[in-house]
Point group: C2
Chain length 325, copies 2
Amino acid sequence: VKVSDLGELGLIERITAGLGPAVAGSGDDAAVVQSPGDSLLFTTDVMVESVDFDRAYSSGADVGWKAIAINASDIAAMGGAPSHAVVGLSLPSDTRVDFVDDMVAGMSAAARRWSLTVAGGDISRAGEMAVAVAMIGVPVAERPVYRSGARPGDAIGVTGSLGGAAGGLAVLRQGLDVTEPGLEELARRHLRPVARVAEAALLAGVPVSAMIDVSDGLAIDLWHLMDASKTGCEVDPLSIPVDPALAATAGTLGLDPLRTAMLGGEDFELLFTLDPGQVGAVRALLADVGTDVTVIGAVTSTERLIGDVALEELKEAGWDHLRTR
Amino acid sequence: VKVSDLGELGLIERITAGLGPAVAGSGDDAAVVQSPGDSLLFTTDVMVESVDFDRAYSSGADVGWKAIAINASDIAAMGGAPSHAVVGLSLPSDTRVDFVDDMVAGMSAAARRWSLTVAGGDISRAGEMAVAVAMIGVPVAERPVYRSGARPGDAIGVTGSLGGAAGGLAVLRQGLDVTEPGLEELARRHLRPVARVAEAALLAGVPVSAMIDVSDGLAIDLWHLMDASKTGCEVDPLSIPVDPALAATAGTLGLDPLRTAMLGGEDFELLFTLDPGQVGAVRALLADVGTDVTVIGAVTSTERLIGDVALEELKEAGWDHLRTR
């Protein structure tokens, strides 16, 4: 069954049912929701087929999950907790209804995972599939955490590990057997990213001085953080926490693990700066939610360097949403 | 110059500058905005090229204006005032930067018109152009106005006139000379729709019992209102306020003016129900902002009829976002 057989109203009813209890204004012109606070975080992220996902290896549930997760990660990166989302679906007429059902199930699961509500949406016919999610949330501490607060002398920390999502993309593109140990974990990092919402709440409470999520790759996102803060940095490349599954399988994948950890995007780890005296406390806090913190360098007032390579140079090799590579 | 020449960061800087004074969190992972109230209205509307607009006759400024206007209209239809928007742009790599500049100028103009702030956004490369806007707002009266509040005995009112936008689309598709009087007004109704934000605030204050904006056409949107309210209706087709420019040029365009007023979408007028005793007061209120109100019928507890035709039958001839016609 295709979405064009069901028609817009039929599909909306089906999606609304799939999302669970309806909010006020569901099926109306706008959803009516309780404001989560006096100060709001408001963001949007669009996923376009064949640029951001590929139905050859992404299920509907993967696409739906990821569309919610990447927006939740943006809210988390501001030291926020997500509360509500709206979803704009662009669907080719011949899209199978079961793909959409799956997508809704993936969105639902991600919404439950991060305690947010999908409050409404819009459907348009389109030549290519796209999912545009917009999300609101609320800063969990007194203030949001901006990219611009890093000060020379701060330590630079990162949660979890890097390069796994890019490794997973390589696994999927190369059509490797994703049931193999290691490869399965990598594929999952690409398909089912995890927004660091709990970690962000803890980091915002410290507070850390600046934060960003690693969506475009460490080199680019570190550059954003330093550029917004008007600071330099010195990062020790050997301290970068390369995803262990990537390190173990990089040979098979034909990838340089460190380079992949520096340039690969979509790990959705949190990259932050903080008073070096607070590193121990932060490690302990995040250990409580099972997440490692690695200090990869320090904020300076001069150049931006990873080892002896200029960050600018690495950044140029990274992901640009408007250029084909 | 194409957007791929400028790159993502270059384009974001350019767009941010074009939108005027930046909000907190501009260039960050999420915008930080003051919540407009305890109860929020949250909506999204996606415009996809060649389904919802055509660059053959829509300028960038038209597309940008309309993307904001249609979302503002959704907020208005709930009896709300829009406050903030985020914009997800899907752009083919070869999109000309001056088209994007124009689009931003159109968004800016619409944002000023309805006193809202474009707070942030996202850009993705895509095969086809699309603009996904999400908007928050606040109910201006004590409660939002839902579609579900119509009661048998209520009068059915509509602001302004209907069919003009569909007439304008015909003008543009037929490549007629849009400098001709009448045709120019029609084209403008398609290209530069006006969200009835001021009118909505007045109607919400009465309050009217139910409201919707006429985006999919009178037949479909009236059906939505009656379906949500679980009521019937009797509409007098001769009372439907056909756009005067459409009435004057329908022969040239090969359109039946009444049928176009009933089935044509995107007029973004407000369709509402109210106690018949309040019609006079509402007419006077809206006259103050220069907007006509027409009573087109009454809410009943039985069938849904326009003249002696079932609304259901007319609705099937209207616009469905997932079917090609």
